[in-house]
């Protein structure tokens, strides 16, 4: 039995540390959950105790309820639970997101949760962490996924908004409330007024309350005068596509912002006006550089292109196996849609 099998176990409820008696991002209720970030497929209901980063705490409380039992700590500080050293390291995915590092008797496991290696204007940038076992996501684990720089994206978004304004159209950007919305705010900041949907607005308030500074936005409420919105910028969660609220926007041009928009077929599927490949996940080169920087002797590949990415890593001489989890875009989309739909008006 290898050391890593003693430190972590893959169970039906999630990734478990028997020595520490806690789970990492479990998908079923457990006694003690260490959470990488606030997205609904990683931070779920019903855990008796939560541990997360300081920056995630307000987000979890906002989403899971103020009554949850939750502790937090800053990035790069360690605590010990039942002899296992635990620390959080920036994952560059969304505000508060972390890789979780576990160390026990000199053996180190890093669980990435979700991560993005390219820096953006708002998220604490990703930091590589050396380890023996590296558990990595693979959402965009195909070489067709390579993201533009933040500056190039900024230019694309601004020029789209400008064209829309010339044509008297209101720019609507669709992206998840947590992560994509704040990223878009940072990309679009400095020009015109940015209106955000209530689910984003409420989350922003929670984030701001923990001392993080966000770009200035206004609440997009149903009682706003149509003329006020004309030619402005609106950020809304994807669940609003096709909703009555969106239909009330004067002459809208709608853009979906997601890594999947890299492919033409995906851009065309939803019948929107534009698709921008703005992703919170590592691209192909990001995944490979992260795996290499970890110097791990064993890699586990979770949600996304597990089969392809682990096969390729093995060809590079890096021992990698697939790991089936309940994380991923589809689980996230479903959970986020439910949350956003619950936030009406």
């Amino acid at each position: 039995m290898s050391k890593e099998n003693q430190l972590i176990k893959f169970t039906k409820k999630g990734i478990y540390c028997p020595q520490g008696k806690f789970y990492l991002d479990p998908w079923y209720p457990v006694d003690y959950a260490i959470i990488s970030h606030g997205h609904a497929d990683h931070a779920r209901w019903g855990m008796k105790r939560y541990l997360c980063t300081d920056d995630s705490k307000a987000i979890l409380q906002h989403r899971l309820g103020a009554a949850i039992k939750i502790e937090s700590m800053p990035y790069n500080k360690a605590t010990t639970i039942n002899g296992v050293e635990i620390s959080f390291h920036p994952a560059g995915h969304v505000i508060g997101s972390a890789q979780i590092r576990l160390a026990y008797k000199g053996y180190v496991v890093v669980f990435t949760g979700d991560y993005k290696t390219q820096p953006d204007f708002i998220t604490t940038p990703y930091e590589p962490v050396k380890c023996n076992t590296f558990i990595t996501e693979s959402t965009f684990g195909l070489p067709i996924y390579n993201w533009k720089s933040e500056e190039a994206l900024q230019e694309d978004l601004h020029s789209w908004v400008k064209t829309n304004q010339q044509n008297n159209r209101t720019s609507v950007f669709l992206g998840y409330s947590l992560g994509k919305a704040q990223r878009l705010m940072s990309l679009l900041e400095g020009g015109d007024d940015i209106y955000v949907h209530r689910s984003i607005h409420n989350l922003n308030e929670a984030i701001s309350s923990s001392g993080i500074e966000l770009p200035e936005t206004k609440l997009w409420s149903a009682d706003l005068d149509k003329k006020t919105l004309q030619n402005e910028i609106i950020i809304a969660p994807p669940a609003l596509l096709g909703s009555r609220m969106l239909k009330r926007v004067p002459n809208p041009a709608t853009a979906i912002c997601s890594g999947w928009m890299q492919i033409r077929g995906n851009r065309r599927w939803q019948a929107v006006d534009a698709g921008f490949a703005v992703s919170d996940h590592a691209d192909w080169n990001g995944l490979i550089s992260a795996v290499k920087a970890s110097e791990a002797e064993q890699v586990y590949v979770t949600h996304g292109s597990q089969a392809v990415f682990s096969k390729y890593l093995n060809e590079l001489g890096i021992k990698a196996d697939e790991l089936v989890t309940e994380y991923g875009d589809e689980a996230l989309a479903k959970a986020e849609a439910e949350t956003d739909k619950a936030t009406v008006k």
Binding site: L142, P143, I144, Y145, N146, W260, Q262, I263, R264, G265, N266, R267, R268, W269, A271, V272, D273, A274, G275, A307, V308, K311, Y312, E315, E330
Partner: protein, 529 residues
Amino acid sequence: MKLFSDLISAIEITNKTNAKIEALVNYFKIAPDKDKLWLIALFTGKRPSRPVKTTLMREWCMEITKLPEWLFLESYSAVGDLGETMALLLPSPSHKLDLSLHEWMTELKALKPKTDDEKKAFVLEAWSGLDQQERLIFNKLIGGSFRIGVSKKTLVNALARLTNIDANQLMHSIIGNWDVESITFEELIHGNHINYDNSKPYPFCLAYALEKELPDLGEPKDWIVEQKWDGIRGQIVKRNNEIYIWSRGEELVTQQFPELVEAMQNFKDDFVIDGEILALKDNDVLLFNDLQKRLNRKNVTKKLLEDVPIGFYAYDILEYNGDDIRETAFDKRRKRLESLFNAVALPEHIKLSFLVDFTEWETLHEIRNNSRAINSEGLMLKQKKSPYHTGRKKGDWWKWKVDPLTIDAVMIYAQKGSGRRSSKYTDYTFAVKKDDALVTVAKAYSGLTDKEITEISQWVNKNAIEKFGPVRTVKPELVFEIAFEGIALSNRHKSGVALRFPRIARWRKDKPVEEIDTIEAVKALILSC
């Protein structure tokens, strides 16, 4: 190429025809003359032959990216388009090339006779000087189609909006004989190179589905009944020794059916007739699936001409020796059509549509139910005194189709679609029970909503049995009702049956896989129809 690249981006993102037309009109307003001509050439099948083989381009792309072939193929199956896959895989450009569409096309034409090494140098230089979207377009200009939903008709509608010239005349102009080097845009759209008087079609008269009981139509003697043949409606225009064939979508399809053009030479008179273009072999109407092999081909090979010969069943005559007779009553027009056909010796594959002999409404039920046996879709009921209406008008013409046959089958394979559908699993293979095993009976890819397709795609992602390659074998679990127009015994199919025009009628979420049909039950349908 920025103008053209922006146009393609604008067109591909929308599925609204009007937005596509608007983008085209804007392009035509500002693009240089030669670029406009190339755009029309590219979207009407007048592209020059491919100067560089796809296999070579693939090889070069793998060489540059240093990716193993399997990973290249995985990427391809995720993207669903080779030109796009290569555009996405190649590294960021190192410099910027700025050529117009016309300049690129001229270069590509000149590339054709060159050596492979020279071609490689050219392609690699282009790849490293274009951004992702331009690179994709460059790959498409070499070969491949854009698949962005711009039909000839859309293009023509854009030109018509731009110029106020009649759309059908524009259709003739762009289909006609011209090449980019020896015509200007103005000359092309004004049709200087064609004689539209010779090709001008009439709008088709269309029927509604029957929505009342037969006796409510009045006296049987006031009606003419024909089979509703399942081919494509066509209008054949013969004027001044020139022959044109228009499809119902108002596209000129003359070149696709040389055997019809040849047969029409037998007539001495001028006319415009309406009828059905069908695949006909030994006097039998073949399946629509067979006819499809003949549609939208740039070249009709000799083998294809032999395998799927085309025939024409004439329904109506709209113009005779220059006279528009559409206002004449249908029974009189039919007489005119008959004497036209009886006056000359015609080859077997050109026929009058035969009339159903009946005196009581009652007898039509049985004839309609038997229509499937002769590969007809049902019956057409036409009021004897009816004029040839413009477009769809209620009351004078009715179509009375047979109800589709249905079976319940289980999905066993799923494959991604193409174009807009390349991101989702949209093409499915279905099976029914054969003893303890399953046997494939049909492939179908239409009939579901986008929402259902998304749901099924997610299910396929979770339930695929193998993980590599474009086709996913899935757990036999999802049950669908498959509707089809006909069924025949077949040696080519493992199941022993061939279904005609199968499509998904609905997703039977309520049905467990144990309750799907057996192959015996499917075969029993052959006897019943």
